[in-house]
């Protein structure tokens, strides 16, 4: 049991170290502003991918409306800071709470569906949220909500990313998380084992939506404005791609997917004609040779790394 706490401490320790290095590099100017922008984007995308993984990978409910929840968190927090002058912290919490609440309201009826039907329903709901926002003139409608203070810094993005990851990981590695995984593995058996499947599906959905709201709040407070065009279903697919790339059900996979694909998009920005081609070819290759994603549903750990490096030859000899 103490192993778990020790791991939490190591995780926070390493995070603080990475943060300090990053912050020093940014302050001294070693990381130029355009690179800082992509690092903050990576942090936001990690929150999005990890939260979608909680719904899609851990609980097995295939949702593709994540951008919609992101939009709710974005707009609610932006309204609070722009129109009411409320502080950023409160705005983030309110944005997350609003998204989570919407997650419960939407989850209760839609999570009766499964598989493709749920995917279609959530896709539609994501678009409905966007179009509703598009038609509210109070938040700027199609021209977007402008004049948002730039409150998101590397510190904010990084701290909230670490918090989200810790929160989701600790949730997954508890009895409540096991209940969610059991639903993914076999819903009928989970129900027969005394698990209230509806409750846990809605719970995972709401938690995922809440963290998408956090990411949305960070996103708009970094870009000075909130625009409905930022939250189309294409963004939902971007997040989904990150999760599938890393491996559905793997937290470290979601993080890796978010980092790799965000940076890839960033570095390919110089060759816009080829960007989508390279991006798609990479995904096709991955799906051909590793359809379960980079890590499958396993977590990347030191043990796995040493096995990969040290045991590669032995595995080959055994015909694995």
């Amino acid at each position: 049991m103490k192993v778990r706490t020790k791991r939490d401490i190591i995780f926070v320790g390493i995070s603080v170290l990475i943060y300090l290095v990053g912050e020093v590099l940014i302050l001294t100017g070693a990381i130029p502003p355009y690179l800082e922008r992509s690092i903050v984007t990576v942090c936001i995308n990690i929150i999005l991918a990890a939260s979608l993984n909680l719904i899609n990978g851990i609980t097995g409910q295939f949702s593709i409306g994540h951008a919609g929840f992101m939009a709710v968190g974005a707009y609610v927090s932006a309204i609070l800071t722009v129109k009411f002058g409320i502080s950023f912290v409160v705005a983030i919490i309110a944005g997350a709470a609003a998204s989570a609440l919407l997650g419960v309201l939407i989850g209760l009826p839609t999570l009766r569906l499964s598989g493709d039907y749920l995917a279609i329903a959530t896709l539609g709901l994501g678009e409905i949220i966007r179009i509703v926002i598009l038609n509210i003139s109070y938040v700027g409608g199609a021209s977007g909500l402008v004049g948002i203070p730039k409150d998101t810094t590397f510190t904010w993005a990084f701290a909230l990313m670490v918090f989200s990851l810790l929160f989701i990981r600790n949730f997954v590695e508890s009895s409540h998380g096991r209940a969610c995984i059991a639903i993914r593995e076999n819903e009928i058996a989970a129900e027969a084992m005394g698990i209230n499947t509806t409750k846990y599906k809605v719970l995972a959905f709401a938690l995922g939506a809440g963290f998408a709201g956090v990411a949305g709040a960070l996103f708009v407070h970094y870009n000075y404005m909130a625009h409905p065009g930022s939250f189309t279903f294409l963004r939902s697919f971007d997040i989904l791609t990150m999760v599938v790339f890393g491996g559905l059900g793997s937290m470290t996979g979601a993080v890796t997917g978010a980092v790799v694909l965000t940076l890839l998009t960033f570095f390919l920005a110089d060759i816009p004609e080829l960007r989508m081609v390279i991006y798609s070819v990479l995904l096709i290759i991955l799906m051909l040779y590793r359809p379960q994603g980079l890590f499958g549903n396993k977590e990347l750990s030191l043990k796995m790394l040493t096995r990969l490096i040290g045991g590669g030859r032995r595995d080959a000899a055994e015909g694995k």
């Binding site: 049991m1 103490k2 778990r4 706490t5 939490d8 929160f167 600790n170 949730f171 508890s174 009895s175 409540h176 998380g177 096991r178 209940a179 995984i181 059991a182 593995e185 076999n186 009928i188 058996a189 989970a190 129900e191 027969a192 084992m193 005394g194 698990i195 209230n196 499947t197 719970l203 549903n297």
Partner: protein
């Protein structure tokens, strides 16, 4: 003492009466068998008892409390656990985690405590782990604790499913064809195990089975279903000699053989 009582239970799917006027009374500590030809409605009876289907008609009482209309997970929490005819393990989880999942509704820490790793989290997790391990030991699966459930041999998967059902701490255990796909030796071991867990855990067992050596060997009372109705009930000897059962299910001896 009556543990489970079903009276006049019927279930119709559209025009098809899958079960009609089903009567059942199980006393605490009973070991009862439910047999009948394919399509007689045996699994439907299980699904009715566990809340997967709601009866069109009739009453089901557990410990004197009506359980009709409860959700399957609520019925499990009231004390009925089951296994499935086609094994339904959490195949990508380890053997240990499969059992741990079944302890879930006995766990006493909140989500907040889980996320913050404070309060009762560590003590409760230690307790679950200990209980799950001792249960695995009972079922002779302790050395496989870290294997994925899908990698176990068939017989062990069946055993794990029973272990997992036991983790919910049931009063009544429903076994749906526990010996399906087992060889005679495994069936013998299963019989021994069923007798043993009943004594050890003070359990009541209702089982569906086609393997007559198991049913006749282990059950004290047998219920025979045909076309959704009970056609006979009694001890194994009575059932074996009941002409109606022989005609519907067991088959007659061919004269001269």
């Amino acid at each position: 003492m009556t543990l489970l009582k079903a009276s006049k239970v019927s279930k119709a799917f559209g025009g098809l009466k899958a079960v009609s006027n089903f009567e059942l009374e199980i006393n605490s500590g009973d070991l009862m068998g439910l047999i009948g030809p394919n399509g007689a409605g045996k699994t439907t009876v299980f699904n009715l008892l566990t809340g997967v289907y709601e009866p069109t008609d009739g009453q089901i009482e557990l410990d004197g409390k009506n359980i009709v209309g409860l959700k399957p997970y609520q019925i499990t929490q009231h004390g009925i656990a089951r296994t499935f005819q086609n094994i339904r393990l959490f195949s990508e989880l380890t053997v240990l985690d499969n059992v741990k999942v079944a302890y879930h509704f006995h766990v006493k820490y909140s989500i907040l405590e889980a996320v913050s790793r404070l309060g009762r989290f560590h003590s409760e997790e230690a307790k679950i782990e200990e209980q799950a391990l001792s249960l695995l030991k009972v079922f002779n699966l302790a050395d496989k604790r870290d294997e994925l459930a899908k990698n176990l041999p068939y017989g062990e998967q069946r055993r794990l499913e029973i272990a997992r059902a036991m983790a919910t701490k049931p009063k009544l255990l429903l076994l749906d064809e526990p010996a399906a796909g087992m060889n005679p030796q495994e069936t013998q071991e299963l019989m021994k195990m069923i007798r043993w867990i009943r004594k050890e855990f003070n359990l009541t067992v209702l089982l569906i089975e086609h393997d007559m050596s198991l049913v006749m060997g282990v059950c004290e009372r047998i219920l025979v279903l045909d076309y959704g109705s009970v056609i006979a009930r009694g001890t194994p000897t009575e059932i074996r000699n009941n002409p109606k059962v022989i005609e519907a299910y067991l088959g007659e001896e061919v004269p001269g053989c």
